[in-house]
Symmetry: C2
Subunit: 258 residues, 2 copies
């Protein structure tokens, strides 16, 4: 693991790293910007040391001053209940914006923690705000990310309120698959960056239930699982069990592009 972070570290910190040349730029904030504007945005972005697995990007209550875009790796966002339990509200993959829910607060209302070695672009919020004064497209892009997050949250409420265990897990896998696909990774073979425990926490299920549904899905030959490696063998039926049409998942992924 240390080897891995050593390998990534220097790369992601190199002065060469630019939005302009970033493979994620078509999914990320620069999305609808022209080259000049991308350059302006680029100037305010800082590339941080990679986070190691388990490190916090920020904690609930930390003073808010930056939003982040994931470059590689993955994050979990979570809130704390009064009795100290955590509730995971989101998993973040590369190109996704993190920290928007703190925008009108002085403190982050949630915490964000690396699930694996993770690199992020740090965007000082005050400067982003200034810059977006002059760049309507950038502004639109930020609005867009936020309203997308709201829409996803509503879908999550629906999941938590109406779906049973199988539907939840299927939805989760289908959603991850769509997001990987969109990012150019294989949609049917991927590695889960989170533990069963974290999946259960996120989906409002006990670990044991998640595990049981995984095995049930394997006997149904929807998926093949080996530890954190997942292979989707019957995509159509998985989406069916999830209670979604494939196009819906894609749509929600695509909407951000306007």
């Amino acid at each position: 693991m240390t080897a891995r972070s050593l390998k990534m570290g220097p790369m992601s910190l190199s002065k060469e790293t630019r939005c302009m040349t970033c493979s994620l730029s078509s999914l990320c904030l620069p999305l609808s910007l022209n080259l000049e504007d991308i350059d302006l945005l680029d100037k305010i972005i800082k590339r941080r040391q990679p986070l190691k697995k388990g490190e916090h990007l920020f904690r609930q209550g930390d003073s808010f001053d930056c939003v982040y875009a994931v470059r590689s790796g993955s994050l979990k966002n979570y809130i704390m209940t009064n009795d100290g339990e955590e509730q995971i509200t989101n998993f973040h993959l590369p190109s996704e914006l993190v920290g928007l829910d703190g925008i009108d607060c002085t403190q982050y209302p949630i915490a964000s923690k690396a699930l694996e070695t993770t690199t992020v672009c740090e965007i000082p919020y005050a400067r982003l705000q200034e810059l977006s004064s002059d760049l309507p497209d950038l502004r639109r892009q930020i609005f867009s990310s936020m309203s997308k997050e709201i829409r996803e949250d509503k879908q999550m409420m629906l999941l938590l309120s109406k779906k049973n265990a199988e539907e939840r897990v299927a939805t989760f896998l289908a959603n991850l698959s769509s997001r990987f696909k969109r990012r150019g990774y294989s949609p049917n073979t991927f590695r889960l960056p989170m533990s069963r425990n974290e999946i259960g926490n996120y989906l409002g299920l006990a670990v044991e239930t998640v595990s049981r549904v995984f095995t049930r899905f394997q006997t149904m030959e929807l998926i093949a699982v080996n530890g954190k490696e997942v292979h989707i063998t019957d995509r159509d039926r998985l989406f069916e069990v999830a209670g979604l049409l494939e196009c819906e998942a894609e749509d929600s992924a695509r909407l951000i592009t306007g």
Copy 2:
């Protein structure tokens, strides 16, 4: 009821109605604007005929072109599952902004329906966007509303994922109470604009469960209920059961004011 809407109709449509003189302006979009800017905002806002109970403000899939601020009455927002069930995602009280989740879509991703006779201010989104180019405070206010909605959604996920029936209902009542309080209504005596069914739908519970918890809370002498009239008799203990400290609920209500 027709009498009521006749009574309200002309008032809310009168040319006199202005953000400047609106009693909600300190809670609503004009919040942080100076007088001149309020006037600019005011010019793009249209006051619509009041909606009657059960009428839609917009439906899921309607083409998106306006956001709305509730002036009086209340709304429920909901999404449809594939099998035609509705999932209520929000109830909206006066001064609250509705429709922000559609911002980067051509269509509203959710529906919004009046729970009672309801008046709204209609804000054409394109014009709001233009105006916010020139008014950083307005822009900030929109960002603020959206990030507040995101934060509330995360709290809702926590509720749906971790809280039991009593905690859910208590949270619901405590939250409503705080919102009424903030709007200058009595925090301890109010009328629920929604049915038990809608409460259950929103909280991820069966109607019967909601009803049972209401009666249990009455025998515990936390509240007194008569139909839709609710009187909170032991506010502290209600908030305790909800798993929140009073200040938290207030905080989340206050955050929008920056």
